[in-house]
Symmetry: D2
Subunit: 239 residues, 4 copies
Amino acid sequence: MSEIVFRSDVTVELVRCSAADSDVVFAARVSTVGEQSKDVVGQEDAGRDRGLIRYLMRDRHGSPFEHNSFTFFVEAPIFVFREFMRHRIASYNEESGRYREMRPVFYVPGDDRRLIQKGKPGAYDFYEGTDEQRELVQAEHRRQAEAAYESYRRMLDAGVAREVARGVLPLSLFSSMYVTMNARSMMNFISLRTTSDDSHFPSFPQREIEMVAEKIEQLFAEKMPITYEAFNDAGRVAP
Amino acid sequence: MSEIVFRSDVTVELVRCSAADSDVVFAARVSTVGEQSKDVVGQEDAGRDRGLIRYLMRDRHGSPFEHNSFTFFVEAPIFVFREFMRHRIASYNEESGRYREMRPVFYVPGDDRRLIQKGKPGAYDFYEGTDEQRELVQAEHRRQAEAAYESYRRMLDAGVAREVARGVLPLSLFSSMYVTMNARSMMNFISLRTTSDDSHFPSFPQREIEMVAEKIEQLFAEKMPITYEAFNDAGRVAP
Amino acid sequence: MSEIVFRSDVTVELVRCSAADSDVVFAARVSTVGEQSKDVVGQEDAGRDRGLIRYLMRDRHGSPFEHNSFTFFVEAPIFVFREFMRHRIASYNEESGRYREMRPVFYVPGDDRRLIQKGKPGAYDFYEGTDEQRELVQAEHRRQAEAAYESYRRMLDAGVAREVARGVLPLSLFSSMYVTMNARSMMNFISLRTTSDDSHFPSFPQREIEMVAEKIEQLFAEKMPITYEAFNDAGRVAP
Amino acid sequence: MSEIVFRSDVTVELVRCSAADSDVVFAARVSTVGEQSKDVVGQEDAGRDRGLIRYLMRDRHGSPFEHNSFTFFVEAPIFVFREFMRHRIASYNEESGRYREMRPVFYVPGDDRRLIQKGKPGAYDFYEGTDEQRELVQAEHRRQAEAAYESYRRMLDAGVAREVARGVLPLSLFSSMYVTMNARSMMNFISLRTTSDDSHFPSFPQREIEMVAEKIEQLFAEKMPITYEAFNDAGRVAP
C-alpha cells in the first residue's frame, strides 16, 4: 500500500480575510458617534483606538468584533473535525465521502504526542509514555489504517457506493474543509481549544484540535494584533 | 470477540417534549391580538386555528413554530452524527471518546440497504446490488470493526489514553447523544434529510440519516399533527 | 384622553416551561456514561449532581444547559424590546403595528427611577434627581404620549394604514411578545442585563431592561435552583 | 426648530465586502475535489462554474454561499431597524441613545408612499390615497417629531439622562448602524423584505424596509452577479 500517506501534523491556511483592528473601532464608534468616520484610525488616534478595543473586550461588548471575516482551509483527522463543528457560529464546507473517493491520508500520533493521561475527566494531565507505548500506538494506527483502506478499496472495486464503503474508514482519516468565522467566534474557539489553567477560564482540549487552534491563533494575531493583545490581557475569554 | 454488537438500525427516543399545535397559534396571535389569550384553542376555534397554521406555513412566517422544544436521545453510527451536527439550530450533547471507553457497537448495512449508486453527485439513484456485493459489504464491515476494536483494546490495555486510542475506530462505530430542537429547525432537518423528488425542494440524503429523520418525523407528527399536515401540504419545506 | 394607560412597571409571565436541574445532569452524563439513565437524580445522588452542575458551570461546558425551554410573555416599552431583541439565541413573536391598532399604553418613569447620570459611557453612575426633574420627566412623557396617540388616531380615522400612522408613536409605547430561550441563553441575558460591578464581568444595563431581567431571573431561580446557585457562585457569567 | 431634518429616503452604503461568485465555487468544490484549487474560475470554466452555482441554489445546498461577508452602513427610521434586527444571522452595531444625544433626523412618508391598505393581514394591497390624506400624514409626522424633539431637549437641558429622555422620541427617528451578513443570510433578507406575489414564496414587506432591501439587493447583484441571477431564477428564495 505504497500510496498511503501518514501525517502527524495538520494544515491551516488563511484563504480569505477581511479583518483589521480598525473595523472594531469603526463598529464601536457608531454607538457613540453615530456616523461613519472613514479615517477613524489616524496616526494620532492609535492610542485612543487601542484603549477602546481593550475597554470593549474587558466589558464584554462583543458585537464590534463580528464585522470581519476569516476563511481557512483546514486539513485534519476526522476526530478533530467532529469537535470543530460543534462550534455553531461558523460556516463549514467539508469534503464529502458521498460525492468523492476519500484519499488515503491518515493521522499517526507523532513522537512528541503525550500518550498517557492521569487525573479526572475534564482535567487530565498528560505524560509522555514509554518507547513501547509509542511504538504500539504508531504501529496500531498504521496497521488499522492500511487494513481499513484496503477494505474500502475492495468494496469500491466491487461496485459498492462510496457512502456505504466509507463506514470502515477510521476516525484518523484526514478530511479537508473551508471554515469561515468572525473574530468574536474565533476568540471563543481559541479560548476553548487551547490549554488554559486559568482558574476563571480553564480549558483542556485534545492536543490535535489544539494544533489547529494554535495555527488559527497565529493568523488571528497577525491580522488583528491590538485585538489579540486585548484578548490575552482579558484572560483569553471571548467578549 | 463475542462482546461486539452489530446493528443495522438506529434509535430515536423522545425524552422531553414541550410542544403542541396550540403553541403556534398562541405565538402567532400575539401579532394580531397583542395579549395573552390562554384558552385560545377552544372547540369552536379548531378550524380557525388550523387555517392560521396553514397560512403561517405557506407564507413563511417561521417564528411562531419556534416556541416549543423536543429533546431526543439518538443512537446512530458516527458518520450519521457527522451529518446531523451540521444543523446548527439545535443543541447537542454527545458521548465523549475522551472521557469514557467506547462500547463495541458497530453499524453493518442491513439486507435492505441499497448498495449501488448511479447518476451524478447530489442526485444518485440507488439499486439493490447482488448477493455477492451484500455479503462483501457485511463481511468487510464486521471484520474491520472487530480488528479496529481489538486494536483499540490493545492500546487501552497498554495504558494509552482513550482519546489517542480511539483514532483507529471506524466511522461505523455507534455513538449516542441528546439533541434538542424546536419544530421550525426540525422541519428543516426533516426536509433535507428525507428523500424528496419535488422539483422545488429536492433532497437525496444518505439512507442512514434518513432512518433517523423518519423516526423524528413520526414523533413530530404525533405531537403536532396540524403543523405536520401543513408542513406536508406546503411541499415539506420549513417556513 | 381617558383611555390612555400609563405604566411604570413591566410584565413577565412564564407561559411554558420545560426545565429542571436534572435535565442538565442527564445531558452531561451522556458524555461519560453514554446511555440513558432515566432516574438519574435519586435521593442519594443529589450531592453528586450538584457537584456536576457546579463543575460544568465553572469549566464552561455550556451545552448541557441548553436542553430545556422557557417561554415568557413580556410587556414592556419598545425601547426595552429594542435591546432585548439584540439577543439572537432566542425566539420572538411580537405584537405587530402593521396588523393591529396599537393600544394606548405608555411608559412613564416611576418615582424611584434614577434620572441623573454621571461618569463615562458604559459605566455611568445614576442619581435620584430633584423633584423638579422628576416632575418634568413625568409630565413630558405623559404629554408627548397623549399628543402622539391623538395624532395616530387622527390618521387612522382618516383612513391611513396602521403601518404608516404608527411612525409618530413614541419609544415609550408598550408592546408585548412571546420569547423562548434556553437556560444557557437566559444566563447570558441575565448576566448582561442586570447590574454587576464585578471586575471580571461588569455590566451596566438600562434600568428598564433590568426590571425585565430581574423578573426572568426570579423565575429561572425557581425552576432550576441548583443551576442558579452555581451561576451566581461562578460570577454570574454564562458558561 | 430649523435644525430638524426630515427625510423620506434611507441610506445603504457598502463599507466592507469580501465576496465573489468564485468563493461559492471554491467552497462547493471542496466537497467533490477535496483540495484547494486556487485558480478555480478560469476563463474556460466560467460556464461550468455558473452551472454549479445554479445547481447549488436549486438543490438547497446553502453552506457554500456563507464564505463571504458584506458590511453595510445603514440609516433608516427606528421602525425599520426593529424589523431588520429580527434577522438573527447577522451582526449589528447601532447608534446608542444611552451613550450619545440623538440627532434630530426624522422620517416623513414621501409623496409616492402609498397610504391606504385594503385586504387582510399579511397580504394587504396598498393604494395611493388622496391629497388630503397625504397632507395629513406629512403634517402629523412633522409636528409630532418637532414636539417630541423639543420635549427631549427640555429634559436634556434640565440635566436628565439621555436614556431617560429618549422615551418621548418617535419611531420615525432615524438611527444608524453597521450590519454584516453573508450572502446566504442576505438572500433570506431580500427574499422576505422585497415584495413577491409568487405563490410559493409570497412576501409583503412594509415599504420602508423594502427601500433598504432594494439597495442591499443592488449591491449584492453587483458583487455576485452569477449568484444573484441564480437566486432570481430559483424563485428568489434563499437556499
